[in-house]
Assembly symmetry: C2
C-alpha cells in the first residue's frame, strides 16, 4: 500500500504553544470548590498549606490565556514535544470506512503518556517558589513517574506514596520512579501520622488512592518547603494539558483538516480536557460545530451514569468539595487495566462542559476496548495504553457509523499513551482470561 506523504504532520520545536488556554474564560461562571469543614466556598488560603501561590492563582483564574514561561516551553522538548498528528490510513482501510481518522501522539513522550505536560509546569512553578520537594500519590504509577522525571529538570526532590497493592504487584513501575530518583513509599506508610493510624487499624491493608492522597497532603502540609502535586481533576492541570489541543489545532490548520469529531478518553479528565478544550472554546465562540466525545470506562462511568453535584475529591473526605459528575466518594470501581479511568468523579471543567451539553460521553467495557487496541496495533504499528484503547474504540465505532451512512467525516482522537508497561493486559486479552467489569 502506498503511503500518502501527508500521513504525519510535525511541528518544529517553535511550534510548542506560547500560552495555555483556559476554558474557564469561555464556559461561564463555575461553581466554586467548597471548604470541607465549613461547606462554604474555599478561599485561596485554604489551599496554601499544600499548593504554591502561582498554582492557586491559576486554579482560580478566569483569564482566557496564561503565558507559558519560557523555561517551561524549553523543557517541554524533554517530553518530545511538539507531538505529531498522524493519519491512521491503514486502520481506515481495514475498516473500509469513508471517514478520515487522525490521532495525536502523546505516546511519544519518554514517559509513555501525556501526564508529563502538567507535571513539568507544576515542578517549575514550585521550584520558582523555593519549594524543595513535591509529594504526590500514585496508583498504577504513571503519574508518579511523570512527576519523578520532571523533578530532575528543576532540581527538586519528589516523594511518591504508591498504593501498597500496586507497590507490591508492579515492581517495575516502582523501579521506573526510583530510576528517575524519586523516593517511593508503599501507602499506607509509617512516614505519616495518617499512614501510621491506618497501619495500626488495618495492618494487612493493600491501601487506596484516597489514603495515599491523604499521606502526600499531610507531608506537604507539615513543611512550608514541601508542596503537593495533583495529576488530574483540578483546573490548573487541565490548563497545562492544553498544549495538546493547541498543537493539534495548529496541525489541523496546516493540514487543512476540519474535524467533525474530537475524541479522547476520560478518567479524571486531564487528557480529555487538554486535547478538547482549545477546540471547545472555538465551539463556544460559534466557529466550529465539531462534536466532542469523552470515552470512559463502564467500570467508572461518571459522565454517563454519575450525578452532577458537589462531592469530595478523595475517599476519606479530606479534600475540598468539587462540583462534578460523580459516582460518589465511596464508589469503588472494579479492577481494570485502564487504571487511569477508575476515578469516581470528573474534572469540574469537563463536568461543566457536559452539563451545558457541549460534549457527550460513551462508556465501554474492557474487552471491547482491548479488541480495538489490538486492531490498532496490527494496522498502525503501535500498541495503545489501555486508557487510550477507549478512545480508539470510540473512533472505530464512529468510523463504522460513517461507513453505514456513507459519510466522509473527519475523526481526530488523542492517543494518550502507549501500552509498553501494560502488556500484561494484552496477554490476558489474548489468553481469553480477561473479563468485563460487568462480569
Amino acid at each position: 500500500m502506498a503511503i500518502p506523504k501527508d500521513i504525519r504532520i510535525d511541528l518544529p520545536p517553535e511550534g510548542i504553544p506560547k500560552r495555555w488556554y483556559n476554558l474557564a474564560a469561555d464556559i461561564g461562571q463555575l461553581e466554586p470548590p467548597l471548604n470541607p469543614g465549613t461547606r462554604k466556598p474555599a478561599s485561596p488560603e485554604d489551599f496554601e498549606a499544600i499548593f504554591c501561590k502561582e498554582i492557586i492563582r491559576q486554579e482560580g483564574s478566569a483569564e482566557r490565556y496564561i503565558d507559558i514561561p519560557e523555561e517551561v516551553r524549553d523543557n517541554l522538548v524533554y517530553l518530545n514535544r511538539p507531538a505529531p498528528l498522524q493519519r491512521a490510513y491503514r486502520l481506515e482501510r481495514s475498516l473500509k470506512t469513508p471517514a478520515k481518522i487522525y490521532f495525536k501522539r502523546e505516546d511519544m513522550s519518554p514517559l509513555g503518556s501525556h501526564k508529563g505536560n502538567t507535571a513539568l509546569a507544576q515542578a517549575y512553578f514550585n521550584a520558582e517558589a523555593g519549594i524543595h520537594t513535591l509529594t504526590t500519590e500514585t496508583g498504577a504509577g504513571q503519574w508518579g513517574t511523570a512527576l519523578a522525571m520532571v523533578s530532575n529538570l528543576f532540581d527538586i526532590d519528589c516523594t511518591v506514596f504508591m498504593v501498597r497493592g500496586s507497590f507490591e504487584q508492579k515492581p517495575t513501575r516502582k523501579a521506573l520512579m526510583r530510576t528517575y530518583g524519586a523516593t517511593v513509599h508503599a501507602s499506607p506508610s509509617p512516614q505519616t501520622e495518617f499512614g501510621k493510624k491506618v497501619l495500626k487499624e488495618h495492618p494487612e491493608t493493600t491501601g487506596s488512592l484516597g489514603i495515599a492522597i491523604s499521606e502526600a497532603c499531610e507531608m506537604a502540609a507539615k513543611d512550608p518547603n514541601i508542596c503537593y502535586s495533583l495529576g488530574s481533576v483540578l483546573n490548573h492541570v487541565m490548563l497545562h494539558q492544553t498544549v495538546i489541543g493547541q498543537e493539534t489545532m495548529e496541525q489541523m490548520r496546516i493540514g487543512g483538516i476540519e474535524p467533525d469529531y474530537l475524541i479522547a478518553c476520560a478518567g479524571g479528565g486531564s487528557n480529555f480536557g487538554g486535547f478538547a478544550f482549545p477546540m471547545l472554546g472555538e465551539k463556544i465562540q460559534g466557529r466550529t460545530d465539531c462534536q466532542f466525545i469523552a470515552a470512559e470506562s463502564k467500570a467508572a462511568p461518571s459522565l454517563t451514569e454519575g450525578e452532577f453535584k458537589y462531592d469530595f475529591g478523595d475517599t476519606a473526605g479530606f479534600t475540598p468539595l468539587l462540583m462534578m459528575y460523580t459516582l460518589g466518594q465511596e464508589f469503588i470501581p472494579k479492577g481494570i487495566h485502564a487504571g487511569g479511568l477508575r476515578y469516581h468523579g470528573m474534572a469540574p471543567l469537563v463536568s461543566a462542559a457536559m452539563d451545558k451539553g457541549l460534549i457527550t460521553a460513551r462508556a465501554y467495557e474492557q474487552l471491547e476496548t482491548f479488541e480495538a487496541g489490538m486492531a490498532f496495533a496490527r494496522t498502525e504499528g503501535m500498541v495503545p495504553a489501555p486508557e487510550s484503547c477507549h478512545a480508539v474504540k470510540a473512533a472505530i465505532d464512529i468510523a463504522l457509523e460513517c461507513k453505514e451512512k456513507k459519510e466522509e467525516k473527519t475523526i481526530v482522537f488523542c492517543m494518550s499513551g502507549h501500552g509498553m508497561l501494560d502488556l500484561y493486559g494484552y496477554e490476558q486479552y489474548l489468553d481469553g482470561t480477561m473479563q468485563d467489569s460487568s462480569v
Copy 2:
C-alpha cells in the same frame, strides 16, 4: 537552566534517506562466507532455501549505494523516522565537561529500538517475492517483536521461535509479539524435526538461540513460500540499518556538528554498523578523522578479546562460516540484562573495520553501564535500554577524559533503544542485587 534552541535537530519525513550505504564498496575485498559442508566459498544458491533473491543479492553486493524502494521509505514513517538528533546539555552540565554530547534517538520507534529498520526492508522484499510467511528466532524478544510488527505492513505472516527460557520468563514480550499478530512457539518446539529431536533428548531444556535459529531455518527451508529473516550480523542487515547513520550525517550537517567520536553499542553489530558505516565511509575517503568506538559487554567481548577467524554463526554449526571476530561458536555468555550484546561473534563488516584499524572497541561490565544509564535517565529524562547503556557509558567516559584534558571535543552516540521493557534490570541495580559478569 535555560535550554538552547538547538537542543534537537529534526528532519522532515522527506529526510528519510533515498538509498542505503554499503560499506562493502569502500572497505576492500571481504573474505566470503563458507559453505558449512564443503568449507568452500558459499554460492548465492546456498542461501536460496531460506532467503529471497533480492536479499541474497544485497548480501553479496559491492555497490556503494542501493536505492531504497519508495514503499520502504514511506513505511519507515511507521517507525517514527526520521529520528531526532538531540544534544545532552543536562548530562554535559552534570559531568562538568567541556565536551559536547549528542545522541541519535532510535528509542523513538514504537518498537523501542532500532531493530525495525531492517525488519521492514526484509518484510518488503520477501512480500514482493511472493513469500507469505517469515520465520525467525528471538531471545529476549526485541527482534521477534520488530519482525512481527512490520509483517503487518506488508500483509505477511510471522512465526517466531522464542528461546523457551525467555518464553516462560518474559510473558509480556511474548504478549507483545502476539499483539502484533505473530505466532510464537517456545523453542525447542514440536513444530520442527530438529525441535522434536531436541525435546526427545532433553525434555527439560530451556532452549538456546542456536536451537531456535535451526528451527526457524528448517521451517523456511521446507516451504518455498516461507523465508527466514535474521536481525543482525549479515551484510544486508547492516545495509538496511544505515538509515540511522545517514540521517545523523544530515543532521550534523544542518547543525554544523563535526564529530570527534562516534559511539554505538555492538552485539551482533547491526546498531553499530547502521550508525557508524556512512561516516566510516567518509573516513576511508579521508574526509574526516573522527574516531569510532564500539561499546560491547565484558560478558561477550568479541571485539576486545575475540579472535578474527572463520566461525559458525550459530551454536550447532548449521550456518555458513563467517570471517569475524569471535569468542568461538560454543561460547556461552553469562546472563546479563543487555540480551542484545550476548552474541559470540561480530558482523563480518564490523569485524573487517576492526581488523583494518578503522574502529576501536571498549568492553564494559554490567554494573557500570547501568550506573551510566541511571545518570542519563536523571539528566536527560529517558531511560536507556541495557544495550544502549554501554554506549552511554563510553560517551560519559570520553566526556570525562575531555574534562581531564580540557578538550572541547564533540561526541555523538546512538541511543539504540529505551528501557521500558527492561525495568527489572534497573530494579536489580537499585536494589543492589545486580552482579557483574566477572563475579
